[in-house]
Assembly symmetry: C3
Homo-oligomer: 174 residues x 3
């Protein structure tokens, strides 16, 4: 690749990684339209016991998310290969789920990989198909393990999260 192609590759990969990170933000803040914008209109998702269209996926995942009080979809290794208008992205993740209910299956950590086919179309790079692969899962008994921090600012799943005040300050200055 020459220098200019390599810069374009960097820009494409940055766009793709941003989609992956916005997806996580959308899940953890329960922002359905943000998640939806990460996928093409005809995208499919294969996720644990679920397989179907992205709109079916959204119904399914919001049903699951409602069982928890918090989630954090923490991603690390994002390895992307771009070929023209198609790309493959492998993303390593750990999801932390918490509930106020003292039930082990509502308080778990899961290691996973997202295997995504991205396509660049008129509305840019978005997910065409996603497959989530589970690597491991850990369910813990709770007594004395998880603590709800007192007196600390904690994350929220609505527009009251501190993120939104910060972002709205950014855009006011335009």
């Amino acid at each position: 690749m020459n220098q200019s192609d390599r810069v374009q590759d960097l820009l494409d990969r940055r766009d793709i990684e941003d989609v992956i990170l916005r997806y996580c933000r959308g899940i953890d803040r329960m922002d359905r339209s943000l998640i939806r914008s990460c996928y093409h209109h005809d995208a499919t998702d294969h996720h644990g016991s679920f397989s179907g269209t992205v709109d079916e996926f959204l119904d399914w995942v919001f049903g699951l998310l409602a069982r928890y009080t918090h989630s954090q979809h923490f991603v690390g290794n994002v390895l992307i290969e771009v070929e023209g208008d198609v790309a493959v992205a492998e993303t390593y993740g750990i999801a932390f789920h918490r509930s106020e209910e003292d039930k082990p299956y509502l308080n778990l950590m899961t290691g996973f990989r997202y295997l995504d086919r991205f396509e660049r179309r008129e509305d840019g790079w978005r997910i065409a198909t996603r497959t989530a692969v589970t690597e491991w899962s850990r369910v813990d008994d709770l007594a004395g393990r998880w603590e709800t921090p007192e007196g600390l600012l904690t994350g929220r799943r609505d527009r009251g999260d501190a993120l939104y005040a910060l972002l709205s300050g950014l855009h006011e200055e335009d």
Copy 2:
């Protein structure tokens, strides 16, 4: 954005992400001046039960860090939006704290987010305000859980850490 603006956006975001990573290195190696250099002179930090200026923050956080024998501030998702000379960065993290003392509260994992307002001034991109949001916290009983590896190279919080020999080799070659 045209290509040249998009490249500038990449460079800005790289600079901002570097500041976030240098902050983590500074905390984990207990390098006060490195942490200080991540903030503008008049920056503020809102961090757990603490809220104040960056210099007050440094006093507070070094008091906390002294209670542990190791820390690792592991960050993943870094989602940055730049608007001119202001940027908002949301960073997901997990902090691991370890002590040789067999006390649960000195051996904990915490999931958090850093919500940063960055500003570009004469000395470049630095944090203007930071808010740390706690997502979850886990305190474990210790027996048979944490191990101090024997015969392995372990991290240090002073210039004896293996990082510094490697970095000094890099700069000698200039």
Copy 3:
């Protein structure tokens, strides 16, 4: 640095980070040639109780990996400094190891850092020396903690992993 040098620095750092991520993919999918390609021919690795050439390292690490049914080498903070044809990369990681055997030491999480000296030679940026530093290690009793998900797609350590079908679709389209 002027703009053009800064863009070159971005490209160099992207190449270096890709090597680090390909190494993790190689370890977790047990792809020996992929791991080998991350190192220069005369590279050395200092890794826990092991120290030697990269080929000796491969023999040693494949012996270890065979004891587990899964591994996930999850990396976050990657802080890279490039000086000409040499670079230092510090990478934070957490390794998850799982076995079907109910033995604590086969089911552990380890926090580490890779401290790498990279060199750019005719075949590009590769590792010249790697030192792995252990930060912490956690061995858990198993009952009721780790679960093998049923009915979920799980990761594999051979060409049957879902990654390879996705990648081969990408390259067919060339």
